[in-house]
Homo-oligomer: 149 residues x 2
């Protein structure tokens, strides 16, 4: 499976938005994500509809956070981008009447559902403020190294 970058990318730009004074344009975000502004707007649309960011058009426009980083969790972002599938593993329904298949699928479904639930609970406990805090630790560490040299 090829994978889905959207959650990772949205978290990235949201933390960047908090580091800046004014609004951030899709063009700037596209550079951060090494992609195209349309891709950014498409994915950000969900965050806008969920009220985590606001967009303004025209001169001086762009995107702003509508809530503090401490008020947004990874779970919020995951939901805002429409809860894409978490797992690559898919449960086959090749022979729906087969009781063996049903038994196998029940077991897999039970484990995957439990794993999903645990993971999303953790996502709900992690705010973007925590990510920003980690970023600042990394930043201080790297500027210390730079100052020494």
């Amino acid at each position: 499976m090829k994978g889905d970058n959207r959650l990772s990318r949205m978290l990235h730009v949201l933390v960047h938005m908090a580091q800046r004074e004014g609004p951030v344009t899709s063009e700037e975000m596209a550079q951060m994500l090494n992609t195209n502004p349309v891709v950014v707007r498409r994915t950000m649309a969900g965050l806008r509809e969920s009220g985590f960011v606001q967009a303004e058009r025209g001169h001086g426009g762009g995107w702003r956070l509508a809530r503090g980083l401490g008020d947004i969790t990874l779970l919020d972002v995951y939901r805002a981008i429409d809860e894409p599938p978490l797992f690559s593993l898919r449960i086959a329904e090749d022979t729906p009447g087969c009781l063996v298949e049903q038994a196998v699928n029940a077991a897999l479904d039970s484990e995957l559902s439990a794993a999903r639930e645990r993971l999303l609970r953790r996502f709900g406990e992690i705010t973007l403020a925590a990510l920003a805090g980690d970023f600042e630790r990394r930043w201080r560490a790297s500027s210390k190294r730079a100052t020494k040299a």
Copy 2:
């Protein structure tokens, strides 16, 4: 992401194999999985190389279990099919030098790794015998209904 049926399908055919006397051909498995014998052989190849099944060619040939269902766990099967990615979520590496990206990715990676570890540990605790047991419960339940009627 489109998903990956291989684990689910392999579990399905392995439990079927234990329900039968002689070997099972790829053609028969393909019918169980509603697919093509080549797809079956391709995926079963990993199980053969890992020693969970044996294949014989020619008349009366086909596939046999090389170990009891109680000796094979979901984790064994997952490993035998080459440990495909568990998650659809991918961690973006769009701007490798960016400390914000690094902080986001570290958090995601940590959660996904923990979730993977927990899930695989559970897989290691579930034998195919347990799946077969559940199948038999379902079978008895359905034949009881059939007898009543």
